[in-house]
Symmetry: D2
Subunit: 294 residues, 4 copies
């Protein structure tokens, strides 16, 4: 049903939401039925310095512009006694913290997903396919806990998850969110150097398997959906690059650097998945705190 | 039932989540029943320069570190042809964009909500009551569309919403989110100067009415929950300050600078309210894109 | 001698320093002779929020990442007792603080000064004519204190300084720095709105007069060398635009937003002018603290 | 003559400039006589990502907010054809690029240099001893090219330069700038890991020798004036810590992370040293491009 390159026939040349268009009200209502206990889990890592990230990426920086220590040291309160803390955040989301990729994040040639001219992504931000187009995601989440399925703590760095392996674990359908665990974030605490030695991820066959099933979003706990070699690059050629298969050719939004350890411990295989990317105008991504309603 | 100052008896001295503790799985499941059509609305304003904000606050800044124009102008693709866009965001959320306040954002004296020492909020961030403690919010949202109730486009700047007026509009109960519309963001497009001439907001009586009902969150489309005078300060004394009543004394998280115009157009009075603040460690707030599932 | 457009015949197609090439060792030694008392004056405004700037430009932001208040409030010192303060600066120099423009800052058509392709100024920074090419400026400064010459506190906003007026005030020669006072920064403290009502500056004839004299740098206390109308734009067409005449066509570096009030009070007409722009690789400008050695 | 701790008797409790007070007009004029050829050398490293820095420090970030690639890709020029490039810089100067330390940068106990309360250094910046107090430095620079003196390319990481060794190389007097080369920046290009394995620097005896001679500034090409161990900390106790001896007890401004290789190649032993720190209000440091006029 889906064809490469680019899914133009389907959503048309003006589409900037890709497979998020599949999130109809009907599907949202159906998805809510996946909630059983009502427990809400955060699936993101903390936004802070010192956490898992791709080597060389600028870490999030957080500054306090006024804080409690200032008042303790004698700074005068506002008005009759009001005290407050204020801060600023600097964040480059890709490769540094849990985030959703916008459809403008990656492409080949001169066109973004669905034929939008790549030159419209310039210093003023993305005029097409920016993250502000994504809106909210409320969908059934299907959990592919690959290391648990294989009896491992985490996948080894050279492991590539095939479409057949996904097929073995669970069915997933149109408008659903495929949540894929590699366990790789566990490695960071043991050793950042080991974390940077490569990363497990999806094989091209898994990307095609997911695209064929019309998932709304692919969300993983690794840094690049696909695997990485020790130079932090993918080994696939352009035809098989995971970002190009999913984001560029099929308009599938991607979520990366999830934290899925508590979710894994629940043993749940599906749940309500909610993600609300910031409406950062022209942004290539948004830092994100996806929720699982169990 | 609730008493001022501070709600210590209730959640105990180590509590950092305040009334978000009311979001039990049972309540979450009940809240999901408020979804009727499954339509998902974003309740946030875009994150960008030039939008409604408090005068003098640093606007969000968004920079592209690589973009499509670079490739169009001859920058070499990665590897065999991969092209990408990457960016950075600088944001001070208070007063500049839709956000949730952490419990460490405001206080009087030397203690935050529930007795945490204010000096623990220092340049390394908030060691207590930071926004990373909030977790996800999934609750029934109750809509107080005040101007619609009064037959106005938006409230005038000096208007203060009383507890009696809220009572007149809708009941709200424990663990629910009170979503309050003033319509004030509509003024921005007409004139930033008029936007800065003051702001409508809650009167102290409304803050107390909401606290008594044990709402989980108070969320409004103005900049400060309470009203503002032309100097952008509140006219209430400390006893009646809305942030102190709600955030400081009762541990009620606040969401500000919402965009509620589409929600108002639906005529809906309740819905599922979802908010997923970034787990910004030690943060005093998180930029936010709250969702209404209708 | 100099011809428009662009001064290619003179410094050749690879030149990235423009008239700074005139700063030979011989001229530097001669310039040092202008020092009489040895007093050193800073000619810059403070880098901070709240100072004179063009409307709408992002102000400098300064954050402390650790400070004395933190230690006063109980933060543990480093090692056996060392305490320190550290900070971060975010600055967009144009229009916000004293700075030197790089030769890549402005152009018409597809080429920078001296034929460098403008497309080489991209998201990775300027590959040609970045501010890191400027190096240090040590030259004789010639002071054109225009309001003092005319018996005014400051020039009115619509005032345009002609070449004839400069000629009347002082001679200036090759490799010297023309320091031009309008007094406009004095207006800021009276009223930012008045400051933004327009700005006095050089007329095109003054730009040509300076270019003909082969000055090394033109340095002024207004925001744009040329004058500005109330919309903060120049009224000149491209042929007469001051940045294009000086920076683009003749390779003259520009310094803007100086603070010249103490210098004016000295009554000095020449001095040693020193400027040391940060070697910000690929930068379009550097914040700057120029010195006058009197 | 000088006494520890703190030099209060000398400049008095309100002094915020320390030994920069020694830069009298008379001394400045005398210093200018050190210029022989008039050649001007920049003594700073480029401000950019990827250069020598202390491990873990946030690197400078440079963003273009509009650039030539945007116009090449179709962005509309301003007005009738004006094109421009604009940018932003984020910089934490300590440990990342050439900079001057303010007197508020380091202390022990509760007081900065000369008795100023350390609590006055808070989130709004340093109210005392900020870098904006430094003003410009024009002084005779005395070059201590230690590796050249010892016949080495660079000092080994565990090398500590004693006062006796400085004495052997050159005399230095009141109000002069001691410029000290270790050659350590050369190691960066060979291997960042080796650069981080430790750093050569001054021994406490050298700090005392310099303080006794009343130098105005101590400027070095290493990261911390003193040496560093592989954990990037100094091995000295508080009594012998170089920052405390020089900056804290004697009010001597420090300049770090210089690039002295071209200066070394000239064989010059003295010159005019000029430094013009940005007047960053309340700043703990300023990025810097010191000049040597040969």
């Amino acid at each position: 049903m889906v064809t490469e390159p680019n899914n133009w026939g389907r959503f048309g040349p003006e589409d900037q939401r890709g497979t998020l268009n599949l999130l109809t009200g009907e599907r949202v209502l159906a998805a809510l039925a996946a909630a059983v206990t009502g427990q809400v889990l955060c699936l993101s890592m903390p936004v802070r310095r010192g956490g898992p990230r791709l080597r060389g990426r600028p870490e999030p920086q957080h500054f306090m512009s006024i804080d409690g220590a200032d008042f303790a040291a004698g700074t005068r309160p506002v008005g009759a006694g009001l005290r407050m803390a204020d801060d600023a955040l600097i964040v480059s989301a890709h490769g540094t913290t849990t985030h959703m990729d916008a459809l403008c994040h990656m492409w080949e040639g001169d066109q973004l997903y669905n034929g939008h001219p790549a030159a419209q992504v310039h210093s003023y931000g993305a005029k097409r396919c920016g993250i502000e187009q994504a809106g909210g995601v409320v969908a059934r989440g299907v959990f592919f806990d690959v290391p648990r399925h294989l009896g491992l703590d985490h996948l080894p760095p050279e492991f590539r998850i095939s479409g057949d392996l996904l097929e073995e674990i669970a069915p997933v359908g149109p408008g659903e969110v495929a949540v894929i665990r590699t366990g790789w974030p566990l490695v960071w605490d043991r050793s950042p150097e080991e974390y940077w030695s490569g990363q497990p991820g999806l094989a091209a066959s898994a990307g095609r398997w997911l695209a064929e099933r019309d998932v709304a979003v692919v969300a993983a706990d690794n840094a690049a959906i696909g695997g990485l070699n020790p130079r932090q690059l993918s080994d696939e050629d352009l035809a098989d690059d995971l970002h190009l298969i999913l984001l560029h050719r099929h308009g599938v939004h991607l979520i990366e650097l999830l934290w899925l350890e508590e979710l894994s411990a629940t043993g749940r295989s599906d749940f309500v998945f909610v993600a609300a990317p910031l409406r950062l105008q022209g942004g290539t991504a948004s830092p994100l705190n996806p929720l699982a309603i169990l």
